[in-house]
Symmetry: D2
Subunit: 369 residues, 4 copies
């Protein structure tokens, strides 16, 4: 094992991250050390990279320097003395919500939203590096049939899967609207298609992403920033006049919430996944929720590990192909290109994967050729 490794480190409270050589992480008794085979850029990483007000408040200058990143697939190269079920050589990914075992939520099967949980890459060093330390409790053993460039995005794909399935997993033979066309929404379209949603509407803004949404299986594309079509009327016209059985808000904007509840049929289900930009959002409480008799499912993270189990099965069986969403790949040291792709508008990227090891990068390029 080497003593040093390369990593993307946030060192200063301003835009950017540094490519540095740093010591290898030391693992606690209940942790494992993972050699990173592939890692991907999340919107949260972009917030931290930009050092916007949210990250300044959430992480804080005093926590720097800190290694970025939390979406990962890699190989276990060292295990702590108290590790019980993860072994050297295991091919793993990491859930990023690290639970406190005595949190009420953790005790009740909701450890993904524990009151006192910590976040990988936010509350501790992340995985934009050659190695990363991972507590056993958040290790997930991958199926070897899943290539690293797809195994590393299972964490956001889990978000998408949980958003689609909601709290009750009852979606087969239903209609579904996704409001928002970010990468998690595009993953969600694919999941919806794989699990038997029979009428999929994607509401978005960016041609690049909408095109991916179509390849992932959307039946209908509706532009939120054009007025050529009455979106609500269109959806009712394609659902026998009732509206969709399920609406997933993946945007969090006032427009998304206003239209989203109108697109939903009475007695339907609304997934609240998007993050609002404002402290409060005006909601038509009566017609949108009370009289509509709908169920609103707040979705944050993914179920540990029910969602991971389904994601692994969907990928390893080949029922779900997420290749169209992984739009760009770079060696890790070219991370700045990756962040640029994530930041530019109009979008020309969905999901960006990075590889610390150039051989892994080359192999992935070949698989996707």
């Amino acid at each position: 094992m080497p003593e040093k490794m390369k990593a993307v480190v946030k060192t200063r409270p301003e835009l950017g991250g540094d490519w540095q050589e740093v010591p290898l992480p030391r693992i606690a008794d209940d942790e494992v050390l993972v050699r990173v085979r592939a890692t991907s850029i999340c919107g949260t990483d972009v917030h931290i990279y930009k050092w916007d007000p949210w990250s300044a408040g959430r992480i804080g200058e005093q926590a720097l320097p800190q290694i970025l990143g939390h979406e990962v697939a890699g190989e276990v190269v060292e295990t702590g003395a108290g590790v019980k079920g993860i072994h050297m050589g295991d091919y793993v990914s990491a859930e990023t919500h690290i639970p406190d075992p005595q949190d009420l939520q953790a005790l009740l099967g909701q450890m993904h939203i524990g009151e006192r949980m910590k976040i990988l890459g936010v509350d501790r060093d992340g995985c934009f590096a050659e190695y990363v330390a991972i507590p056993e409790v958040v290790c997930w053993v991958n199926d070897k049939a899943i290539a690293p460039e797809y195994a590393c995005v299972q964490e956001p794909l889990g978000n998408a899967t949980y958003a689609v399935l909601g709290e009750d997993n009852d979606v087969a033979g239903k209609s579904m609207v996704f409001v928002g066309d970010g990468p998690i929404s595009l993953f969600a379209v694919g999941v919806a298609r794989a699990v038997g949603v029979t009428n999929i509407f994607l509401v978005g803004k960016y041609d690049f992403n909408m095109e991916i949404g179509k390849r992932m299986g959307a039946d209908h594309l509706l532009y939120a920033n054009k007025d050529d079509v009455d979106r609500i009327a269109y959806i009712k016209d394609h659902t026998r006049g009732y509206g969709a059985d399920i609406v997933c808000d993946m945007a969090g904007s006032t427009q998304a919430l206003e239209e989203g509840f109108q697109m939903l049929r009475k007695g339907g289900r609304f997934t609240a996944f998007g993050v609002a930009g404002e402290a409060t959002v005006p909601i038509d409480y009566n017609n949108g929720i009370v009289f509509k008799g709908c169920q609103v499912h707040g979705v944050n993270g993914r179920k540990m590990f029910d969602t991971w189990y389904r994601v692994r099965n969907l990928l390893s069986s080949g029922r779900l192909d997420i290749a169209p969403v992984v739009s760009h790949m770079f060696p890790l040291e070219e991370y700045e290109q990756g962040f640029e792709k994530m930041i530019e508008r109009p979008r020309h990227a969905a999901k960006v994967v990075l590889f610390p090891d150039r051989q892994e990068f080359d192999a992935a390029q070949q698989r996707r050729a």
Copy 2:
């Protein structure tokens, strides 16, 4: 059978209702005629009685004259030729949401929120009368152990029961907050107590109602209009720091929604039952729903007839005693006193029951003596 009957009729688009002699209702083939033994005043009746903007818009002047009322218990005295399962002499109450059989919601087991359903006493003549016509599809056979003054309030008690049980009926051994102290909230406190909610908080404003709430089983009373106690901190202090497992909004006000979501623990359930006074309400979407990972259940009406079944069993078994909530009883012809009780502020009434037949009134008085 007489040809005429006495009824409280809305005749003009202004405050009030008239005590008139009118013809007996004629029943359709799939309807029954019910002799009213007891009926009760709902908030909706008060809206119509006052002829406020909602009722002017919802019912409209052109629909008058119309008989008020929809909460009822009585005896079947005539059955239409196509009635299949209701018989002469049956002791029945009425669900007020009259479904359209081909509504998608009706076909999917959600007939209580059908897109095209009609409302008894709103879309057709009601039950503030000696007789009322009821479609078989909304007839519910009562248990004879339930006195008429309680059988007639099963419709709003069903609202309360559905609000407590939510969509999943999972409440045993949990903590619950009711925000609002109207009659349905007071019923709900009693239901919560009867079904094993182990920590019941009632947030209200009126001493008269709060006192009834205490008798119905509330463990904690918190005043929404006083600042002596930090209500959110109080609830967290009594729930090991987490907040309540379930919060039922029975008020719909901006304050209720703002505080209600803060009183709820992460991963809890929020019942949306109250009706907002404004077109939109500002909601802390991120912290209240998304990051909280909560479930919001929009509750309107009651399940047909799952809720009715539980209500009947709770009452007939004696597990639930709603006597404290039925605060006033009058002969029907004294309906004006009843409406005054419902309208006055501060409140000095919870639920008001009316009896078309004075003998029924006398018998009820004796039972409650």
Copy 3:
């Protein structure tokens, strides 16, 4: 409208049925008359055709003559005076479980298993005829995109869909075993594939059916009547050693139940759909159910009309293609050939569709050419 029609009539308590000219059915006020476009043969029809002990006991000689058949698609040509939501020209199928509206089960959303329900083609004349009378309450409006030869099998396809989805509809990303290779099991394989079951095992006996199962999407074929493979070990080997998440018994035999529970992982779900040939079946109650902590879902009929809704959406969207299961088609007057196909062993037929109108038959032949 003609006064007479052709029909397959059970006239005597012995094998067979007669091709007769009989009067058109007369409809009650709450019924519609349907011109049959396509109808299909169910195992129940075969029981009655054979007049086996079950049908002799269930129907009884005194009920004869009676028209056979209950799986149907057709056009509404007459509506009773009390029909509310079905119209002339509607393209409908029929749910065969005719509920009693005051059955407790009907009131609680389980009308498909009402205590006093009647069965079309068993308790009243069926649809192996040019016309059939159908109560509105069991009419289901089809999507016109679904051809009659597929629309008529939605009733057994609904059985299959309910068996797959179980009571909770939670199947996405899970593994599933079907024990039995009859037509409903073959439908079920297709449904499972369409709704995101990621590992499908089909256990059967007949090459003809197993081949269809493969075309419908089974990942693994296991022969119940061969000992070349240890079936339980095989399934564990393909489920990381645990057994399948869900096992659907579609056979009801002692062997099916003994093996089925062993194929199921701890905490899994077992669908009990097959009908046993014996009064009691020996079951390993401790290891199969109690210690296994599993859920057993008894499935009979299909949910009215939740299952129908999903079936319609799966078919009309093209997500589910059932063509391979519809193995034979005949004009109705050649019904004897159809029954022979259903009875012969080893099987060389899955689902047989009959057409009263030869033009419909010809059109169907062309569509499938």
Copy 4:
């Protein structure tokens, strides 16, 4: 801390246990040492005490000597270096199912039935001693309002609560039958009463236990070993002719299963909790499960820690009083009397609690005086 302690040790493969002085348990890094305040005798302890074929096979002679017992309440007096959320002085009980963290069931929220879990007092030393070592992962923090003699029986009370609530926790306003009158059934009657079951039938054999069942809240007592009453007809007579909504088999006998399924209404829920004495049990699969359309919930252990949470709330709120079921208390050194009480027939004991410390015993005696 002393170096030695008193304990009830199974030393030989024959009836009985020895009162010995043994070294204090040594804890692993992720365990705590608990000073036992109260412990209670389970049927499993009786099996081991008797050294019947089950225990000879399950535990095996080579595992002896081993300390008996697994139901416990006590105080944490030492914590391992890796313990995260349990602290010195905490008042705890222990879940007895010790999960393997990488078991599929544990990962999917079903750790109570993990494929590779270990059992306290079966696979390792138990708590019939002054001190016991407990892994943090199965520690449950008690509410101080719950006396030790009741806190120690939360493990079997959790069995009862899970049996009552089933997998879906949907019981409010329903009817329920318990077949079997052992201590867990008696607890279950109390739980059912506390959570709003409105009609409770207890089917048993022993006057002593039936009397306790009545005090716990059973509405109807039916003797399984007398023919004075047709038990199935009686239950139908008291459920409008349908049968009970829920039947809990707490006995596992052929008679219990035969009658139990007949007592259940169509579409009801059957809890399978009792353990059968035979390798297989004859079950009327068709009428009992398939045509009945029922749900069978296999219940083993209790949900970790959803059930514990509800149990704690029910006890600490005073909604549930289990005093009648705790029929006998002894100092631990008089354990032989306790076992005699558990073994004698006809029964004259329900639940027996033992106290290692005589002062705790005296205090409990006083509380119950």
